[in-house]
Symmetry: C2
Subunit: 291 residues, 2 copies
């Protein structure tokens, strides 16, 4: 494995263990079992971004793993709710049956709800940041990134687009994705600076380019990918006639745009010098998924 792949894998193991321990500490219930199931697997890329940005600010992994587990809990909750029949109606996620298929819809709703609570609980822990102010900055920004001004806003615009008379323009789809996937990625990349009460601007610029590249890569994967490798249904957007970056820019245009964004993301890291090598590699990794 490359240095990056090794680092990502090692972080993912720490984050998954932290999240599993937090869920295992809850009282016994079917919802707890389903929470553990939903939190397993995945690349844990958002959590990795948290831990790398924390490392850039001199914060130890024993501290940053709390916030990394928190963002992965939020991400897992969003997938469980997104997969519900009333939303994207997906039966496969990370190569396994989705929560509402394996259990039922009520359980899936409660699993997502409880994972969101758990995320905020992790951020409020004494060891989630070096200072109380750092923890509160993480919590306030998470509420913003996950809620009706961030991720949920993106999902709301996505739903509204489905009943709109015209397909979305490039500007509209960019705004939608900035919420839907961009907000959590930006939160993750900025988390270390927030914990340290340092300037978040360079990491925010990095994350905005990265988040958009990530979504373009997802659209490319939806067209070109192998469902078995992706662990989820593909070709959904094209079948649904939805506007995507590929439908708007063409396949080659989308690939070129993603590559430009990666260059932009990496340039934003200049201020951190060699310390940001892993974050630079993470940017490359994001589009390599689809190449």
């Amino acid at each position: 494995m490359s240095d990056f792949a090794t680092a990502l894998h090692s972080a993912a193991e720490k984050i998954e263990a932290r999240l599993a321990a937090e869920i295992a500490a809850l009282p016994d219930s079917q919802v707890r079992d389903a929470m553990a199931y939903a939190a397993r697997g995945g690349k844990k890329l958002r959590g990795f971004l948290v831990m790398e940005s924390a490392r850039l600010h001199g914060i130890a992994p024993e501290i940053s793993v709390q916030a990394a587990a928190a963002i992965e809990a939020i991400h897992a909750y969003s997938l469980v709710h997104d997969d519900l029949p009333a939303m994207d109606d997906d039966d496969l996620r990370r190569g396994q049956p989705t929560v509402h298929v394996k259990w039922d819809e009520a359980t899936a709703i409660l699993v997502g709800d409880a994972l969101q609570s758990l995320a905020f609980g992790l951020l409020a822990r004494d060891d989630a940041a070096p200072t109380p102010q750092g923890r509160l900055a993480l919590i306030a920004s998470m509420a913003q990134a996950a809620g009706g001004a961030g991720m949920v806003l993106g999902q709301a615009l996505d739903i509204e687009a489905e009943t709109a008379t015209a397909p979305l323009s490039l500007d509209e789809i960019t705004a939608l994705q900035a919420g839907k996937t961009g907000a959590l990625i930006e939160w993750s990349a900025c988390a270390g600076a927030r914990m340290a009460q340092a300037d978040t601007a360079p990491l925010a610029a990095y994350a905005r380019a990265l988040g958009l590249a990530f979504q373009i890569a997802d659209d490319i994967l939806d067209v070109e990918g192998d469902a078995a490798l992706a662990g989820k249904r593909l070709h959904k957007d094209a079948c649904a006639g939805k506007a995507t970056f590929v439908s708007l820019l063409g396949l080659d245009g989308a690939k070129a745009r993603a590559q430009d964004l990666i260059v932009q993301a990496q340039a934003a890291l200049k201020v951190y010098g060699d310390d940001a090598a892993q974050l630079r590699d993470a940017a490359q990794f994001v589009i390599a998924r689809s190449n």
Copy 2:
């Protein structure tokens, strides 16, 4: 109106205005409109408990209204998700069509999700408690009360009970309700002590008795109440053959038990003397709903 009714009404107006302003500040979307709809109405009893317990600890209403709005956002989210077809499948709430009836299920799922984020955002605000430690104590305890060890646990046990072979015992139904309605009521009553970093024990004892009385009163209301006044469907539990405090204790037994609990709740407030008059009246109000 009695002094208590006037105080409850005045607090409810402040809390509703605070919550409405917070939602109005979100970017425009259908989900934002539906959040505003879901947050309107109701007695705001939980928020009133927050503001009264804060007053007992010398904390001004301009401070405590943040936490009061936060618990009402959590309560509103739980109602929106509870009303979904996969959960209780209710079409009427507070005398109005439920969110999934007025909009759709996807919107209702997102409304609940965003209201939960908004609640934690309110608690992380600079003016949500006199100190950063007070705010973090509110957030950590809210994550506990709302999540898989509190409210969601109660709902999970409720779902499991529906497929159980035998109806629940009195102990089991008491445990279920301690989570389902008790956890948020306890959080509310203890909030003022948490903000002030004072002892929560007397208020926790008050809230545990109050929460149980509240649920017994709800079961009595389900049997005896007037649907038009209650603003929701009644007689659901009896029709579903579910065990309730009324089915287990009989109507007179349930009324006597609720009255005992109110005496117990009021006794727990002794330490606060005359300052706790409104909380004592709140306890009486909780069972008066069903008498």
